[in-house]
Each structure stands twice: as structure tokens, then as C-alpha cells.
């Protein structure tokens, strides 16, 4: 089965571990938060402020702010832009991402 990594003959360095809501997932060097979560089969990591509905990537280029996520206790970061580092702690962002 073909995959983008295979198609582009990517040979990234070894995968590293990050966590999503306490669960360990693997990420590749160079992957954004959104890319690692998609690869782990996760498509939503925020719930909206009013209706509490799930959201994930929409525009993929930093314009729409739908993919906001909390990383290392900092809320409202765009998952499609933010590169991951070993040990990063990703949390699903509820509402504004602030305790209120």
C-alpha cells in the first residue's frame, strides 16, 4: 500500500514520543502537531466554546484557527503550524483553553 512517506521517499530520523491527553503517541521529526495526530488516527483535538463540538484541521495553512490546541500548557496554538518536539504534552482544548 502506497503512503505519502513512501511516495516522497522520506527517511526521517527515529520517531519520538509525545502525549495526547496522557496517551503516548509517536511523532516523526519535522511533523507538526496536526500531522502527528492525523497519523495516529486522531482528527479532532478541540471542543467549541458554545456547543462543545469537536474540531480539528480545516484550512491546514494557519488561516482558519479551527485546529487550536493546548501544547505544554499553552492553549490556542495552531496545530497545523506548530512543530512537535520529544516529550511535548498535547491536550485537547476545551472551550477557550483557559480555566474559567
Amino acid at each position: 500500500m502506497s503512503s505519502p512517506l513512501h511516495l516522497a521517499q522520506a527517511e526521517p530520523g527515529p520517531a519520538f514520543r509525545v502525549t495526547l491527553d496522557g496517551r503516548e503517541i509517536e511523532a516523526l521529526p519535522g511533523q507538526t502537531v496536526a500531522a502527528a495526530l492525523w497519523t495516529a488516527g486522531v482528527t479532532s483535538w478541540r471542543t467549541t466554546r458554545d456547543a462543545g463540538r469537536p474540531r480539528g484541521v480545516f484550512c491546514g495553512i494557519g488561516v482558519c484557527f479551527d485546529c487550536l490546541v493546548t501544547v505544554n500548557d499553552r492553549p490556542n496554538q495552531r496545530a497545523c503550524l506548530l512543530p512537535l518536539h520529544p516529550g511535548d504534552v498535547i491536550r485537547t482544548q476545551e472551550g477557550t483553553g483557559h480555566d474559567d
Binding site: 516522497a8 519535522g30 469537536p54 484541521v57 480545516f58 495553512i61 488561516v63 484557527f65
Partner: protein, 466 residues
């Protein structure tokens, strides 16, 4: 060195790279600022360096053009003629009372630390972004913009699922569908609302671009090879799912652009890549006070805006694709170089670029009449469909503001409903709100091109990096 004129080029896509090369080769010191970590823009978006992709061209078209742009930039950077600043998110350009301009940027990916830079002139090559018109279920995770699916694929080699329906209208859908299929995604349907017969009426403008016709034929062959079914004159009526998209309902359109009753069918999928054309990024131009024609930055034959010292090239002056961006960028760079040296430019120096600019503008004007959302697309927005994704404002709320509170423009709807007041500042919902309001999409006059920390704003102008 420092007394050479200094040009800031904003955006490292095809237009910005062409402008950079043209200006640098004519004795101008160029600083190229771009938000991404690697040059290329959206069209030539490169995989992150750490992914060490040995064959990124497998995800791209017109790779040889990219190699020429990339190698040119590298050569100018090596000899010190160009500075390429990556991860610089420009939020404002202002004219200095004493002449010249100041470029304000935030350093990414955190976008908290500011940097300021003076320039004698700027080229705005800020590109465009995708327009998506709402329908029930479009906020479900797994529903992404067509360009977003492609950006995630090209930039991070990531996919959101295994089965993707590609839908909407416009020339972008073809490379998105074939690109996803080549990357191993099953693409059961490409749902295009345009009528293929409309192309027949446009044969003169299309035939003037034999290269583009051949490109279309190549895509058609790839669709066949990957068994992607083309559903022309069709539209997505609804995306289904609870926590993510599980299927879409598509239906045929009648001659008036309305959904034909009894034609709907359900297609299971875990991804819907959808787009209805492109819009130019014009925030920086608007803040500078540049004249806009509709949604496009107005430029003259030299790609000059009506603000002294400010040129614009590429999608920001009107959507027209990578080849047109290259031509416009080249002309902008040549013109800026000549004028920064105090000489009147000779348009004969860029005659070839001007000729291809004329042809490509005609071609895209013809395409624009063929590719169009269904005429009655607003009828697909039910009253409980979220229209403003940030503020969760529904179609019903917008309609109430229009029908019962008398709102007649996007700004009044925003003040009454909060539609367009959220993080994206109406970039996503703007076309839909305009459609529901029954008015045209007008520039929104945002003061800044992106969110700026208050502390940065307070200190702006105190210190400047030369």
C-alpha cells in the same frame, strides 16, 4: 553595501521568488520574508526538512520550474544579495513619515517576539487562501479544505484518512484528487459543480493556452488510472457523522444550479476535501491604503499599487495560478529595481513576461466563468448550519439579522450576530455571510494581517532592526 536600495519581498511563493530574483539580479538588496520554514509558498510547499524526503517532486507539478526558483534563491543568498528570513509572520507594513516603509513581523512558530525592518520599497506577494461555502456537516472533523488536504500532504506527508471525497469547484480540485490518490488514498468521487459543456463555449480562450489544455488531459488520464469518478454538475448536500465525517450525500444540479430532487446518493468516506475557489490575501495592502478592485489589489502595468513604494504580484492581485504569479513577480522585481535606482524602467525588458501575463489573465478570466459554485448555493445552508465557524453563528441567525433586523451588509451582520468576529476575522465565513446577506464580498479592512500580542503592539516602532 548598505547604501544600495533595500527591497522587502513579502511571501516566498512563485511571485515572491520571481520578484526576489529579478530585483537581486539588478543590483537591489533584497530581504525575502516568509511565514514558512522553507520557500515555496502553497503551490511549491516543501516537506519539512527533518522529514528528509528524497523525492518530494512525486507530490508536485512543474518541478523543474521549482528547481530553477530554488537554485536561484540559493545562489543569491550565497553571494549575500538576498537575505531569506523564514518563520517571519508579517502583521503590518506602514509608511514612514520620512520616506520608506517599516515591516513588522512576529517570529514563529510561537509568534510572540517581534521584529521590525526598514525597507525602501516592498513587493506584496502574499498569495491567497481557499474559499469554502457552508453546507450541513461542514464543521465535522475530517472535512478539510481541498488546499488544506494538499498542504498537509505536501508539507507534512500526512493524511486525515483512507477514503476522501474531493468536492466543490475549481481547477484546484484536480491536483488535490490525483495527489491524494497517488499517495494511497481511495478517492471514490470528484464532485464538481461546474458544467463541462461550459468549457466548449470558452474554447478560444482555452485554446490560446495549449499547455493548460495538455495539463487538463493529463489530469483526466490520472483520474481514470486511479479510478476516481468525476461527478460533474454535482454538489455535496450534506456531510454526515457525529464526531467525524463518515459519509457525504451528493446530488445532481439542474440547469439553474438547484439540487435536482431524487438524485441524491450517499458516499461513505472519512475525509471530505472541499473548496469553491480562491481569495487573495490583501490585509497588508489594505492597511497600507492600497486601492482594491473588488477583492484584488489594484496594480498598473508595472505591478505597482497606487501607494508609492509598494508593488504587488501573484494571487494577491487576482487569482491566476503559479505561472501568472511568476510573470507578475518578475515584472514587479524589474520595475522596483529600476525605480529604486532612480531610473524609468523600460517595459521591453520584460516583454515576454508581460505577454504571458496577458494570456494567463485571459485564461483565468475564462476559467472563472466556467468554474462557479451552484447558483443557488445559499439554499443548501439550513438554518441550523453553522456559518461562522469561530463564533458558531448559524445560517438562521444570519438570516434573521437580514430579514428581521434589516442588516444589508457583512459589517452590520457581524455587529448583530458576531459572525466574522472570531479568530479568523471573517476570512472563512465572509463569502457565505455576504451570500446570505445578498451583498458582494467586500474588503473587510482588518488593521493587522494576523493576531498580535498587545505587548508587541504597544512597543511597535520603539526599535527597528536595519
Amino acid at each position: 553595501m548598505t547604501d544600495r536600495p533595500h527591497l522587502a519581498v513579502l511571501g516566498a511563493g512563485p511571485a515572491g521568488l520571481a520578484a526576489t530574483a529579478a530585483a537581486a539580479s539588478h543590483g537591489v538588496r533584497v530581504t525575502l520574508l516568509d511565514a514558512a520554514t522553507r520557500a515555496g509558498g502553497q503551490f511549491y510547499r516543501q516537506p519539512a526538512a527533518e522529514l528528509r524526503a528524497r523525492r518530494p517532486q512525486a507530490l508536485h507539478h512543474q518541478w523543474r520550474t521549482w528547481e530553477r526558483l530554488r537554485d536561484g534563491l540559493r545562489a543569491y543568498v550565497t553571494v549575500g544579495a538576498v537575505r531569506h528570513l523564514t518563520d517571519h509572520h508579517v502583521w503590518c507594513v506602514e509608511r514612514r513619515p520620512s520616506g520608506g516603509l517599516t515591516v513588522h513581523a512576529l517570529l514563529g512558530p510561537e509568534q510572540e517576539d517581534p521584529v521590525e525592518m526598514r525597507a525602501d520599497a516592498v513587493v506584496l506577494a502574499t498569495g491567497g487562501y481557499e474559499k469554502v461555502l457552508p453546507f450541513p456537516g461542514w464543521t465535522l472533523p475530517g472535512v478539510v479544505t481541498a488546499g488544506g488536504a494538499q498542504a498537509m500532504l505536501k508539507g507534512t506527508l500526512a493524511l486525515s484518512g483512507r477514503t476522501a471525497v474531493v468536492a466543490g469547484t475549481g481547477p484546484l480540485l484536480l491536483p488535490v484528487a490525483t495527489g491524494l490518490a497517488a499517495a494511497g488514498v481511495e478517492v471514490p468521487a470528484l464532485v464538481e459543480s461546474a458544467d463541462p459543456k461550459a468549457f466548449v463555449h470558452r474554447t478560444r480562450a482555452l485554446a490560446a493556452q495549449p499547455g493548460k489544455v495538455a495539463e487538463g488531459a493529463r489530469y483526466a488520464a490520472q483520474l481514470l488510472r486511479h479510478r476516481v469518478r468525476l461527478l460533474a454538475r454535482h454538489t455535496v448536500v450534506e456531510a454526515h457523522g457525529t464526531d467525524r465525517v463518515e459519509a457525504v450525500t451528493v446530488a445532481a444540479l439542474d440547469a439553474d444550479g438547484r439540487v435536482r430532487p431524487g438524485t441524491s446518493r450517499r458516499i461513505p468516506c472519512d475525509t471530505l476535501a472541499v473548496g469553491h475557489g480562491m481569495l487573495p490575501h490583501t490585509d497588508l495592502a489594505e492597511t497600507l491604503g492600497c486601492r482594491l478592485d473588488g477583492t484584488d489589489v489594484h496594480v498598473d502595468d508595472e505591478q505597482r499599487t497606487d501607494v508609492p513604494g509598494v508593488w504587488a504580484a501573484g494571487e494577491t492581485t487576482g487569482i491566476g495560478g503559479a505561472a501568472l504569479s511568476l510573470a507578475e513577480g518578475h515584472i514587479a522585481g524589474r520595475s522596483a529595481a529600476a525605480r529604486l535606482h532612480g531610473t524609468e524602467p523600460d517595459p521591453r525588458a520584460w516583454a515576454a513576461a508581460a505577454k504571458s501575463r496577458t494570456r494567463l489573465r485571459e485564461f483565468f478570466a475564462a476559467l472563472g466563468t466556467v468554474y462557479a459554485p451552484p447558483a443557488h448555493w445559499t439554499e443548501q445552508i439550513t438554518d441550523d448550519t453553522v456559518v461562522c465557524r469561530c463564533e458558531e453563528v448559524t445560517g438562521g441567525t444570519v438570516r434573521e439579522a437580514v430579514a428581521e433586523l434589516g442588516a444589508g451588509d457583512v459589517r452590520t451582520v457581524k455587529l448583530l450576530t458576531r459572525a466574522g468576529m472570531g479568530w479568523c476575522q471573517g476570512r472563512v465565513c465572509g463569502p457565505a455571510v455576504a451570500g446570505l446577506t445578498g451583498c458582494g464580498l467586500t474588503p473587510s479592512r482588518r488593521p493587522f494581517a494576523r493576531p498580535v500580542p498587545l505587548g508587541v503592539l504597544a512597543r511597535a516602532g520603539e526599535h527597528e532592526d536595519q
